[in-house]
Amino acid sequence: MYKMVATKYQIRLDNFEGPLDLLLHLIEKNEIDIYDIPIAKITEQYLSFINEAKDLDLDIASEFLVMAATLLSIKARMLLPKPVKVVNEGDEEGKDPREELVVRLLEYKKYKEIANLLKSKEQDMAQVFTRDLDLMELVKEFGPYNPVENISVYDLLKAFQDVWQKVNEMEPVYEIARENISIKDCMNHILDKLAESPRGLTFSELFSTGASKLRVLVTFLGILELIKLNKISFQQKDTFGKIIIFLREY
Protein backbone atom coordinates (compact mmCIF):
# COMPACT_ATOMS: atom_id res chain seq x y z
CA MET A 1 0.00 0.00 0.00
CA TYR A 2 1.26 3.44 -0.88
CA LYS A 3 1.46 6.15 1.68
CA MET A 4 -0.94 8.31 -0.23
CA VAL A 5 -3.85 5.92 0.12
CA ALA A 6 -4.04 6.81 3.77
CA THR A 7 -4.22 10.48 2.98
CA LYS A 8 -6.57 9.97 0.07
CA TYR A 9 -9.29 12.23 1.30
CA GLN A 10 -7.14 15.00 2.65
CA ILE A 11 -5.29 15.72 -0.55
CA ARG A 12 -7.50 16.34 -3.52
CA LEU A 13 -6.91 17.20 -7.11
CA ASP A 14 -8.11 20.76 -6.67
CA ASN A 15 -5.36 21.38 -4.11
CA PHE A 16 -2.85 21.33 -6.94
CA GLU A 17 -1.88 24.07 -9.35
CA GLY A 18 -1.76 21.59 -12.22
CA PRO A 19 -0.52 18.16 -13.29
CA LEU A 20 3.14 19.09 -12.76
CA ASP A 21 2.38 20.26 -9.24
CA LEU A 22 0.60 16.97 -8.51
CA LEU A 23 3.52 14.95 -9.91
CA LEU A 24 6.03 16.88 -7.80
CA HIS A 25 3.89 16.18 -4.77
CA LEU A 26 3.87 12.44 -5.52
CA ILE A 27 7.63 12.46 -6.06
CA GLU A 28 8.22 14.19 -2.73
CA LYS A 29 5.73 12.03 -0.86
CA ASN A 30 7.37 8.86 -2.10
CA GLU A 31 10.88 10.28 -1.61
CA ILE A 32 11.69 9.47 -5.19
CA ASP A 33 14.78 10.58 -7.10
CA ILE A 34 13.42 12.96 -9.70
CA TYR A 35 16.08 11.74 -12.16
CA ASP A 36 14.94 8.14 -11.81
CA ILE A 37 11.18 8.16 -11.49
CA PRO A 38 9.58 4.71 -11.03
CA ILE A 39 7.10 5.51 -13.73
CA ALA A 40 4.70 2.60 -13.13
CA LYS A 41 4.28 3.49 -9.48
CA ILE A 42 3.84 7.20 -10.10
CA THR A 43 1.41 6.61 -12.95
CA GLU A 44 -0.72 4.38 -10.74
CA GLN A 45 -0.82 6.98 -7.98
CA TYR A 46 -1.50 9.77 -10.44
CA LEU A 47 -4.41 7.86 -11.98
CA SER A 48 -5.89 7.11 -8.58
CA PHE A 49 -6.07 10.86 -7.95
CA ILE A 50 -7.89 11.37 -11.23
CA ASN A 51 -10.30 8.53 -10.50
CA GLU A 52 -10.99 9.86 -7.06
CA ALA A 53 -11.80 13.26 -8.52
CA LYS A 54 -14.13 11.51 -10.93
CA ASP A 55 -15.85 9.71 -8.05
CA LEU A 56 -16.29 13.03 -6.29
CA ASP A 57 -17.77 14.44 -9.48
CA LEU A 58 -15.14 17.14 -9.65
CA ASP A 59 -14.37 18.80 -12.91
CA ILE A 60 -11.06 17.42 -14.05
CA ALA A 61 -9.15 20.01 -16.00
CA SER A 62 -8.08 18.67 -19.36
CA GLU A 63 -4.42 19.32 -18.45
CA PHE A 64 -4.61 16.53 -15.86
CA LEU A 65 -5.94 14.10 -18.45
CA VAL A 66 -3.27 15.03 -20.97
CA MET A 67 -0.63 14.28 -18.34
CA ALA A 68 -2.27 10.94 -17.55
CA ALA A 69 -1.95 10.02 -21.22
CA THR A 70 1.68 11.18 -21.25
CA LEU A 71 2.48 9.02 -18.20
CA LEU A 72 0.84 5.97 -19.74
CA SER A 73 2.76 6.47 -22.95
CA ILE A 74 6.07 6.75 -21.07
CA LYS A 75 5.18 3.64 -19.09
CA ALA A 76 4.49 1.73 -22.32
CA ARG A 77 7.78 2.83 -23.85
CA MET A 78 9.67 1.80 -20.71
CA LEU A 79 8.27 -1.71 -21.11
CA LEU A 80 9.70 -2.08 -24.59
CA PRO A 81 12.89 -4.08 -24.72
CA LYS A 82 15.96 -1.88 -24.91
CA PRO A 83 17.68 -1.89 -28.25
CA VAL A 84 20.56 -4.34 -28.23
CA LYS A 85 23.07 -2.30 -30.16
CA VAL A 86 24.66 0.71 -28.58
CA VAL A 87 23.14 3.82 -30.08
CA ASN A 88 24.55 7.30 -30.24
CA GLU A 89 23.59 9.64 -27.48
CA GLY A 90 20.87 11.98 -28.59
CA ASP A 91 19.51 9.25 -30.82
CA GLU A 92 15.77 9.22 -30.34
CA GLU A 93 15.70 5.49 -29.70
CA GLY A 94 18.38 5.60 -27.06
CA LYS A 95 16.71 8.36 -25.10
CA ASP A 96 15.13 7.66 -21.74
CA PRO A 97 11.38 8.06 -22.32
CA ARG A 98 11.18 9.94 -19.01
CA GLU A 99 13.73 12.57 -19.95
CA GLU A 100 11.35 15.17 -21.34
CA LEU A 101 9.08 14.88 -18.33
CA VAL A 102 12.01 15.23 -15.94
CA VAL A 103 13.16 18.40 -17.69
CA ARG A 104 9.67 19.87 -17.41
CA LEU A 105 9.36 18.91 -13.76
CA LEU A 106 12.72 20.46 -12.88
CA GLU A 107 11.86 23.65 -14.73
CA TYR A 108 8.48 23.90 -13.04
CA LYS A 109 9.98 23.13 -9.64
CA LYS A 110 12.32 26.13 -9.93
CA TYR A 111 9.46 28.53 -10.50
CA LYS A 112 7.42 26.94 -7.74
CA GLU A 113 10.27 27.72 -5.36
CA ILE A 114 10.58 31.26 -6.68
CA ALA A 115 6.84 31.65 -6.15
CA ASN A 116 7.42 30.75 -2.50
CA LEU A 117 10.16 33.34 -2.30
CA LEU A 118 7.80 35.96 -3.77
CA LYS A 119 5.19 34.90 -1.24
CA SER A 120 7.56 35.64 1.63
CA LYS A 121 8.47 39.00 0.09
CA GLU A 122 4.79 39.78 -0.26
CA GLN A 123 4.30 38.97 3.41
CA ASP A 124 7.21 41.24 4.34
CA MET A 125 5.67 44.10 2.41
CA ALA A 126 2.35 43.58 4.19
CA GLN A 127 4.11 44.66 7.39
CA VAL A 128 5.10 48.09 6.18
CA PHE A 129 3.11 51.15 5.24
CA THR A 130 3.93 54.16 3.14
CA ARG A 131 2.43 57.52 3.93
CA ASP A 132 -1.21 58.04 3.15
CA LEU A 133 -0.72 61.14 1.05
CA ASP A 134 -3.62 63.13 -0.24
CA LEU A 135 -2.24 64.42 -3.52
CA MET A 136 -5.18 66.67 -4.28
CA GLU A 137 -4.73 68.39 -0.89
CA LEU A 138 -1.04 68.85 -1.58
CA VAL A 139 -1.65 70.31 -4.98
CA LYS A 140 -4.19 72.73 -3.54
CA GLU A 141 -1.53 74.10 -1.22
CA PHE A 142 0.37 75.43 -4.19
CA GLY A 143 -2.39 77.94 -4.79
CA PRO A 144 -3.89 78.77 -8.13
CA TYR A 145 -1.95 76.89 -10.71
CA ASN A 146 -2.30 77.79 -14.35
CA PRO A 147 -2.59 74.55 -16.32
CA VAL A 148 -2.12 76.45 -19.58
CA GLU A 149 0.98 78.35 -18.54
CA ASN A 150 3.02 79.25 -21.65
CA ILE A 151 0.06 78.57 -23.91
CA SER A 152 -1.68 81.54 -25.52
CA VAL A 153 -5.04 81.76 -27.24
CA TYR A 154 -3.12 81.89 -30.49
CA ASP A 155 -1.56 78.50 -29.72
CA LEU A 156 -5.08 77.29 -29.20
CA LEU A 157 -6.22 78.74 -32.50
CA LYS A 158 -3.18 77.28 -34.25
CA ALA A 159 -3.93 73.85 -32.76
CA PHE A 160 -7.49 74.03 -33.99
CA GLN A 161 -6.41 75.18 -37.42
CA ASP A 162 -3.90 72.32 -37.69
CA VAL A 163 -6.48 69.74 -36.72
CA TRP A 164 -9.00 71.16 -39.10
CA GLN A 165 -6.55 71.20 -41.96
CA LYS A 166 -5.62 67.58 -41.29
CA VAL A 167 -9.28 66.64 -41.25
CA ASN A 168 -9.83 68.33 -44.58
CA GLU A 169 -6.82 66.72 -46.15
CA MET A 170 -7.24 63.22 -44.87
CA GLU A 171 -10.93 62.72 -44.44
CA PRO A 172 -12.93 64.02 -47.38
CA VAL A 173 -15.98 62.78 -45.48
CA TYR A 174 -15.75 65.92 -43.40
CA GLU A 175 -15.68 68.13 -46.43
CA ILE A 176 -18.94 66.53 -47.40
CA ALA A 177 -20.47 66.86 -43.99
CA ARG A 178 -19.73 70.55 -44.10
CA GLU A 179 -21.04 70.84 -47.66
CA ASN A 180 -24.54 70.55 -46.33
CA ILE A 181 -26.09 69.52 -49.63
CA SER A 182 -29.85 69.54 -49.59
CA ILE A 183 -31.93 67.61 -52.11
CA LYS A 184 -33.82 70.78 -52.88
CA ASP A 185 -30.66 72.68 -53.87
CA CYS A 186 -29.59 69.72 -55.89
CA MET A 187 -32.91 69.51 -57.70
CA ASN A 188 -32.65 73.19 -58.64
CA HIS A 189 -29.13 72.61 -59.84
CA ILE A 190 -30.24 69.70 -62.04
CA LEU A 191 -33.06 71.76 -63.52
CA ASP A 192 -30.69 74.67 -64.24
CA LYS A 193 -28.20 72.39 -65.94
CA LEU A 194 -30.85 70.65 -68.02
CA ALA A 195 -32.33 73.98 -69.04
CA GLU A 196 -28.95 74.81 -70.56
CA SER A 197 -28.83 71.54 -72.47
CA PRO A 198 -31.97 71.04 -74.55
CA ARG A 199 -30.69 67.72 -75.85
CA GLY A 200 -30.35 66.31 -72.39
CA LEU A 201 -27.40 65.16 -70.26
CA THR A 202 -26.05 61.89 -69.00
CA PHE A 203 -26.18 61.19 -65.27
CA SER A 204 -22.48 61.88 -64.76
CA GLU A 205 -22.70 65.15 -66.61
CA LEU A 206 -24.99 66.44 -63.89
CA PHE A 207 -22.15 66.97 -61.45
CA SER A 208 -18.54 68.03 -61.72
CA THR A 209 -15.85 65.34 -61.91
CA GLY A 210 -14.48 65.90 -58.40
CA ALA A 211 -17.87 65.58 -56.75
CA SER A 212 -18.07 63.82 -53.42
CA LYS A 213 -19.92 60.56 -52.93
CA LEU A 214 -22.52 62.48 -51.01
CA ARG A 215 -23.11 64.85 -53.93
CA VAL A 216 -23.48 61.94 -56.34
CA LEU A 217 -25.95 60.31 -54.00
CA VAL A 218 -27.97 63.47 -53.47
CA THR A 219 -27.97 64.15 -57.22
CA PHE A 220 -29.35 60.67 -57.78
CA LEU A 221 -32.04 61.23 -55.15
CA GLY A 222 -32.80 64.60 -56.78
CA ILE A 223 -33.31 62.90 -60.15
CA LEU A 224 -35.68 60.34 -58.63
CA GLU A 225 -37.62 63.13 -56.97
CA LEU A 226 -37.82 65.15 -60.21
CA ILE A 227 -39.03 62.11 -62.14
CA LYS A 228 -41.70 61.59 -59.51
CA LEU A 229 -42.69 65.23 -59.86
CA ASN A 230 -42.83 64.75 -63.65
CA LYS A 231 -40.34 67.58 -64.16
CA ILE A 232 -37.80 65.48 -66.04
CA SER A 233 -37.77 62.42 -68.20
CA PHE A 234 -35.14 59.97 -69.39
CA GLN A 235 -34.38 57.97 -72.43
CA GLN A 236 -32.23 54.95 -73.13
CA LYS A 237 -31.52 53.97 -76.70
CA ASP A 238 -29.95 50.53 -76.17
CA THR A 239 -30.43 48.14 -73.30
CA PHE A 240 -27.01 48.94 -71.83
CA GLY A 241 -26.69 52.33 -73.46
CA LYS A 242 -26.36 55.69 -71.80
CA ILE A 243 -29.34 57.12 -70.03
CA ILE A 244 -30.07 60.63 -71.17
CA ILE A 245 -31.94 62.90 -68.81
CA PHE A 246 -33.84 65.90 -70.13
CA LEU A 247 -36.40 68.42 -69.04
CA ARG A 248 -40.02 67.43 -69.45
CA GLU A 249 -40.89 70.60 -71.43
CA TYR A 250 -38.56 69.64 -74.27
Binding site: R131, L138, P147, V148, Y154, L156, A159, D162, V163
Partner: protein, 178 residues
Amino acid sequence: MVLFPKEAKAVIESLLFVSNEPLNIEQISEITGINPGEISELIEEIARVYETDEHGFYLREVAGGFIFMTKPQFKNYIEKLYKPHLSSLSHAALETLAIIAYKQPITRSEIELIRGVKVDKIINTLVEKKLIEELGRKETPGRPILYGTTKEFLKYFGLKDLAELPALENFITEKDED
Protein backbone atom coordinates in the same frame (compact mmCIF):
# COMPACT_ATOMS: atom_id res chain seq x y z
CA MET B 1 1.45 45.55 25.78
CA VAL B 2 4.27 47.24 27.69
CA LEU B 3 6.58 49.32 25.59
CA PHE B 4 10.03 50.62 26.40
CA PRO B 5 10.20 54.42 26.20
CA LYS B 6 12.32 54.37 23.04
CA GLU B 7 9.96 51.92 21.40
CA ALA B 8 6.94 53.95 22.55
CA LYS B 9 8.40 57.00 20.87
CA ALA B 10 8.98 55.08 17.64
CA VAL B 11 5.42 53.70 17.68
CA ILE B 12 3.99 57.20 18.05
CA GLU B 13 6.26 58.46 15.31
CA SER B 14 5.13 55.66 12.96
CA LEU B 15 1.50 56.59 13.53
CA LEU B 16 2.16 60.29 12.94
CA PHE B 17 4.09 59.32 9.81
CA VAL B 18 1.30 57.40 8.07
CA SER B 19 -1.58 59.64 9.04
CA ASN B 20 -2.72 62.32 6.63
CA GLU B 21 -4.93 63.85 9.32
CA PRO B 22 -3.77 65.45 12.56
CA LEU B 23 -3.73 62.78 15.30
CA ASN B 24 -4.67 63.80 18.81
CA ILE B 25 -3.31 62.42 22.06
CA GLU B 26 -6.51 60.49 22.86
CA GLN B 27 -6.41 58.67 19.52
CA ILE B 28 -2.77 57.75 20.01
CA SER B 29 -3.47 56.60 23.54
CA GLU B 30 -6.34 54.42 22.38
CA ILE B 31 -4.20 52.75 19.73
CA THR B 32 -1.05 52.29 21.77
CA GLY B 33 -2.32 51.97 25.33
CA ILE B 34 0.26 54.50 26.45
CA ASN B 35 -1.09 57.03 28.96
CA PRO B 36 -1.80 60.52 27.58
CA GLY B 37 0.71 62.26 29.84
CA GLU B 38 3.52 60.11 28.55
CA ILE B 39 2.38 60.55 24.95
CA SER B 40 2.41 64.29 25.39
CA GLU B 41 6.02 64.15 26.61
CA LEU B 42 7.13 61.83 23.84
CA ILE B 43 5.48 64.00 21.20
CA GLU B 44 7.40 66.96 22.55
CA GLU B 45 10.60 64.96 22.23
CA ILE B 46 9.77 63.99 18.67
CA ALA B 47 8.91 67.59 17.79
CA ARG B 48 12.28 68.78 19.16
CA VAL B 49 14.18 66.34 16.95
CA TYR B 50 12.50 67.51 13.76
CA GLU B 51 12.88 71.21 14.56
CA THR B 52 16.60 70.89 13.88
CA ASP B 53 17.94 72.15 10.56
CA GLU B 54 18.92 68.77 9.25
CA HIS B 55 15.30 67.65 8.90
CA GLY B 56 13.05 68.55 5.99
CA PHE B 57 9.76 68.23 7.83
CA TYR B 58 8.51 68.98 11.34
CA LEU B 59 5.67 68.21 13.70
CA ARG B 60 2.92 70.80 13.81
CA GLU B 61 -0.01 71.09 16.18
CA VAL B 62 -3.07 71.60 13.99
CA ALA B 63 -6.77 71.42 14.81
CA GLY B 64 -6.14 69.89 18.22
CA GLY B 65 -3.86 67.18 16.83
CA PHE B 66 -0.35 66.63 15.57
CA ILE B 67 0.75 66.22 11.98
CA PHE B 68 4.07 66.07 10.16
CA MET B 69 4.47 68.73 7.50
CA THR B 70 7.31 69.74 5.25
CA LYS B 71 9.05 72.93 6.30
CA PRO B 72 7.80 76.04 4.49
CA GLN B 73 11.24 76.94 3.14
CA PHE B 74 11.21 73.82 0.95
CA LYS B 75 7.91 74.58 -0.70
CA ASN B 76 9.49 75.41 -4.05
CA TYR B 77 11.19 72.02 -4.29
CA ILE B 78 8.02 70.18 -3.41
CA GLU B 79 6.13 72.15 -5.98
CA LYS B 80 8.68 71.04 -8.56
CA LEU B 81 8.13 67.44 -7.51
CA TYR B 82 4.43 67.78 -8.14
CA LYS B 83 4.73 69.85 -11.28
CA PRO B 84 4.67 66.74 -13.47
CA HIS B 85 1.26 65.96 -11.98
CA LEU B 86 0.08 69.45 -12.79
CA SER B 87 2.26 69.75 -15.83
CA SER B 88 1.35 71.74 -18.88
CA LEU B 89 -0.86 70.25 -21.52
CA SER B 90 0.29 67.64 -23.98
CA HIS B 91 -0.13 68.41 -27.66
CA ALA B 92 -3.04 65.96 -27.82
CA ALA B 93 -4.72 67.75 -24.91
CA LEU B 94 -4.15 71.15 -26.51
CA GLU B 95 -5.74 69.98 -29.77
CA THR B 96 -8.71 68.58 -27.93
CA LEU B 97 -9.09 71.76 -25.91
CA ALA B 98 -8.90 73.83 -29.12
CA ILE B 99 -11.65 71.76 -30.76
CA ILE B 100 -13.85 72.13 -27.69
CA ALA B 101 -13.16 75.87 -27.47
CA TYR B 102 -14.17 76.48 -31.08
CA LYS B 103 -16.88 73.87 -31.52
CA GLN B 104 -18.63 73.88 -28.15
CA PRO B 105 -20.99 72.42 -27.14
CA ILE B 106 -19.55 69.20 -28.51
CA THR B 107 -19.72 65.52 -27.58
CA ARG B 108 -16.80 63.18 -26.99
CA SER B 109 -17.54 61.14 -30.11
CA GLU B 110 -17.71 64.28 -32.24
CA ILE B 111 -14.22 65.20 -31.01
CA GLU B 112 -13.04 61.66 -31.72
CA LEU B 113 -14.41 61.92 -35.23
CA ILE B 114 -12.31 65.03 -35.80
CA ARG B 115 -9.12 63.86 -34.07
CA GLY B 116 -9.43 60.28 -35.28
CA VAL B 117 -8.39 58.88 -31.89
CA LYS B 118 -10.02 58.11 -28.54
CA VAL B 119 -10.12 61.10 -26.23
CA ASP B 120 -11.75 59.82 -23.02
CA LYS B 121 -8.56 60.11 -20.96
CA ILE B 122 -7.78 63.56 -22.29
CA ILE B 123 -11.34 64.70 -21.58
CA ASN B 124 -10.93 63.50 -18.00
CA THR B 125 -7.65 65.38 -17.64
CA LEU B 126 -9.16 68.58 -19.02
CA VAL B 127 -12.13 68.25 -16.66
CA GLU B 128 -9.75 67.65 -13.73
CA LYS B 129 -7.78 70.75 -14.67
CA LYS B 130 -11.08 72.62 -14.75
CA LEU B 131 -10.53 73.73 -18.35
CA ILE B 132 -13.70 72.09 -19.62
CA GLU B 133 -16.97 70.98 -18.05
CA GLU B 134 -20.19 69.18 -18.88
CA LEU B 135 -22.75 71.53 -20.36
CA GLY B 136 -25.63 69.08 -20.53
CA ARG B 137 -26.73 66.23 -22.78
CA LYS B 138 -27.25 66.13 -26.51
CA GLU B 139 -30.78 65.06 -27.40
CA THR B 140 -29.65 62.27 -29.69
CA PRO B 141 -29.69 58.51 -29.09
CA GLY B 142 -27.60 57.70 -26.04
CA ARG B 143 -27.89 61.31 -24.85
CA PRO B 144 -24.12 61.90 -24.93
CA ILE B 145 -22.55 64.50 -22.66
CA LEU B 146 -21.85 67.89 -24.22
CA TYR B 147 -18.61 69.60 -23.26
CA GLY B 148 -17.65 73.24 -23.24
CA THR B 149 -14.96 75.44 -21.75
CA THR B 150 -15.17 76.78 -18.19
CA LYS B 151 -14.91 80.17 -16.51
CA GLU B 152 -11.45 79.10 -15.40
CA PHE B 153 -10.55 78.52 -19.04
CA LEU B 154 -11.31 82.19 -19.74
CA LYS B 155 -9.36 83.21 -16.65
CA TYR B 156 -6.29 81.17 -17.56
CA PHE B 157 -6.21 82.64 -21.05
CA GLY B 158 -7.04 86.12 -19.82
CA LEU B 159 -10.25 86.35 -21.84
CA LYS B 160 -13.36 88.30 -20.91
CA ASP B 161 -15.62 85.91 -22.79
CA LEU B 162 -15.53 83.37 -25.59
CA ALA B 163 -16.14 86.07 -28.18
CA GLU B 164 -12.61 87.24 -27.42
CA LEU B 165 -11.14 84.03 -28.83
CA PRO B 166 -9.37 84.94 -32.07
CA ALA B 167 -11.74 84.37 -34.96
CA LEU B 168 -11.03 81.44 -37.22
CA GLU B 169 -11.62 83.46 -40.39
CA ASN B 170 -9.01 86.06 -39.41
CA PHE B 171 -6.49 83.38 -38.89
CA ILE B 172 -7.17 81.70 -42.18
CA THR B 173 -7.00 84.96 -44.16
CA GLU B 174 -3.75 85.85 -42.48
CA LYS B 175 -2.46 82.45 -43.46
CA ASP B 176 -3.53 82.89 -47.04
CA GLU B 177 -1.68 86.17 -47.27
CA ASP B 178 1.59 84.50 -46.44
